[in-house]
Amino acid sequence: MKRVLVTGLMLLATLTLSACAGHNIYSGTVVLDGAHGFDEGDIIDGELVVFGGKVMLARGSRVTGSVYLLGGALEVDGEVSGDVLCFDGDLTLGPDATVGGNLTVGGDTFARSPQATINGQVNAGAGMREALSPVWPEQRLGERLRGFALQTVVLAALAFAAVKFRPKPVARIGEAIARHPVVSGAMGLLVGVVSLSLLVLMAFTVILIPVALLGILALFASIAYGWIAIGAMVGQRVARRLKWNITPGAAAAFGVVLFMLVVNGVGLLPGLFSLIPLAAMAVGLGAVLLTRFGRRTFVPASEIAPSGLENLTGLGRSDHV
């Protein structure tokens, strides 16, 4: 297995070197702003992504890949070899427009000449714009409380299930948090900042949006796992201290509720207190990763003593004044 992995990595390294080759591996055009016209005979190699501005593909022009409209305006009177996907913005297909693949429309306005040729399927609807609207719109207090309650209940249920069916991994994560909170926090902060930057960059490529969404899900799942471990640890300690006779699963669920109340409550306070939920996220995430999702006990390198050095004294020479 290791050999396969190493070979795979070496192959990847070879691919990386091809980035230095004389020709581009992949090409595409992105328009962010301004007016851009493509005349007869112009060829856009690869995909065309329009975020804003106005793009006009005149008769006789050609896009060899697909066209993605995410904002602004696009007038097509030339040929698009791939699909045309309109997420948002104004799309116009002129009489000489030819779409080699499918046409999918969910944008603001869409006008199509009857003479326009579409070789694939036409999918029209207004669902996509709503799907792209802000995920967290301005919420009222009642809605926020409901959201918080739902989040807490789900986490508590997950904590109950995790401690009941997979107690050891949760315990390992909890131990890493309790014994090494600074290391866990440092690791979580690093992973959080870098992975968010990576996911945003992936989303910007459009084609990697599904991977970015999966990445965000994985990130939040890891944070939630860390919080479940914190909750389980807190619940079990409180139950022990108060001598409650409850199952470890129930203690974990109670601990999660307690933890969520405290962290979110403190997070509402002004100043540096508002950073506490972020710190809790970092610590949870870091502990999950350091223990490899609870599959091993984390022992810092500094706690592994070098062999044969413990009883040495008076080593080497020194000078003096």
């Binding site: 290791k2 992995l5 190493v6 990595l9 070496m10 990847l12 390294a13 990386t16 070197l17 980035a19 230095c20 992105v30 962010l32 090494h180 600074v182 290391v183 440092a186 690791m187 902060l189 690093l190 900042v193 870098v194 930057s197 990576l198 945003v200 960059l201 910007f204 810092p300 390198a301 500094s302 070098p306 062999s307 044969g308 050095l309 413990e310 040495l312 004294t313 008076g314 080593l315 080497g316 020479r317 020194s318 000078d319 003096h320 004044v321």
Partner: protein, 428 residues
């Protein structure tokens, strides 16, 4: 942390050693970051009027001379056992700082190519001597367990000062800011190194304690044979890669107004404070993780972040050239730089014993740091002369970063060596 133990036990000489080391290294690194790496290019091109190609050639000369002197002096220190003599090293450090102070003071008279080359050779001598001397003080002053944290403090102080207080990247600006600092340091170090302080004797004996003597990656050789740590060669190669990637990319970025004016040389203090703060936080993360993780993990992160940062810059040059650059790009760059600087400060002493530290440091820092930095600087300038577009330049740097990243990833599956050994006759 050992520091807490020393504070509780009120071991004032040891605590003074921490302050002395952090002060010396932070000032030295700040001097190197600003005056040498950025100031020399300005001195050659703007003040003297040399072409880019000539400056590139002279920087290559600086790299070569520094490397040769560092290696020769590191070997000399190892051969004569000076590595284990704290007071001798302190006096040598004084000589280095004195020479650097003189070089800083005489910059205004360097106005032609001959004096520029002479200045470069003298600066190379100071740097070449300084590397084994200064870095080898780690084993005298900082216990092995605290080296990551101390390296984080040194890195934070140097980068924060360089970022927040340096607006104009000119040799005159750097000179004005640094001259009083090195002058004060020279006087203080001179008084301390040549005085008759009992404190000196206490510090001089610290490296004989196991907590100071043996770096984190040192194991006793029970065979009685003399070994060179195989890990050292791997680390030199990786550090060379880091310095090369960093310098090759950064020299191009700082020549591009849209990137430098919106980040490192922004007129807005808030932007520079953000980058300076990022350096501090990233150095703290590196200090904590250095002590807690396998050292390969940090190399993995450094190359990965460099790869990501350069990919973002490549995207920006292709898709949004002319628009303001997002702060996420210099933020990632600052994180990677702080991570590897911390590793560099702690690593060489941690693969060494008091006897071998000067040689190992000379090999490590000279071969990886100086050679890579100045060779890549010369290459970056040459590419600009050849008219290579910025996106192509950054694409190559990105490919290099990802290549190293994949090698480090592969190394997790390949053991570096069956035994981790580093011991010489003098250590037993």
């Amino acid at each position: 942390m050992e520091l807490v133990r020393h504070v509780k036990a009120r071991r004032w000489p040891t605590l003074f050693g921490y302050i002395l080391f952090i002060g010396m290294m932070a000032t030295g690194y700040y001097y190197n970051l600003t005056f040498v790496q950025l100031g020399l290019v300005d001195l050659g091109r703007r003040a003297i009027g040399l072409s880019e190609a000539r400056v590139a050639g002279h920087l290559a000369l600086l790299a070569l001379v520094t490397c040769v002197i560092a290696l020769a002096f590191g070997w000399l220190m190892w051969r004569h056992g000076w590595s284990e003599q704290f007071i001798r090293k302190l006096r040598l450090a004084f000589a280095v700082v004195l020479l650097q102070t003189v070089l800083t003071a005489v910059v205004p008279v360097v106005r032609d190519e001959v004096s520029f080359v002479a200045w470069i050779v003298a600066a190379s001598a100071a740097l070449g001597l300084g590397v084994p001397v200064m870095f080898s003080l780690t084993v005298d002053l900082i216990p092995a367990r605290d080296r990551g944290y101390v390296a984080a403090l040194v890195t934070s102080a140097a980068y924060f000062a360089a970022e927040v207080f340096s607006v104009e990247w000119t040799i005159d600006e750097f000179r004005a800011r640094i001259l009083w600092l090195v002058l004060a340091g020279t006087i203080g170090l001179g008084v301390f190194a040549f005085g008759k302080f009992p404190l000196l004797n206490e510090l001089a004996a610290q490296h004989t304690q196991p907590g100071f003597a043996f770096g984190r990656f040192v194991r006793r050789d029970r065979t009685g044979r003399e070994w060179i740590n195989r890990r050292l060669f791997v680390l030199v190669a990786l550090m060379f890669g880091i310095y090369f990637v960093d310098s090759l990319g950064f020299l191009r970025l700082i020549d591009t107004p849209v990137y430098v004016d919106t980040a490192w040389q922004s007129p807005q203090l808030a932007t520079r404070l953000f980058i300076g703060g990022t350096h501090v936080v990233a150095a703290w993360i590196a200090g904590v993780l250095y002590a807690a993780l396998d050292e390969r993990s940090l190399f993995f992160w450094v190359f990965g972040i460099f790869g990501l940062a350069h990919l973002m810059y490549t995207f920006h040059t292709r898709l949004a050239a002319g628009d303001d650059a997002p702060l996420a790009m210099p933020m990632l760059y600052a994180i990677a730089v702080s991570l590897y600087t911390v590793v560099n400060f702690a690593l060489w002493a941690d693969v060494s014993t008091p006897r071998t530290v000067s040689l190992n440091t000379a090999v490590g820092v000279a071969l990886s740091g100086w050679t890579a930095t100045f060779l890549s600087t010369a290459l970056a300038i040459q590419w600009r002369i050849d008219g290579m577009p910025i996106d192509r330049h950054l694409q190559i740097v990105d490919a290099l970063a990802i290549l190293f990243f994949l090698f480090v990833l592969a190394s997790f599956f390949i053991p570096i060596g069956g035994r981790e050994l580093l011991a010489h006759e003098g250590d037993r």
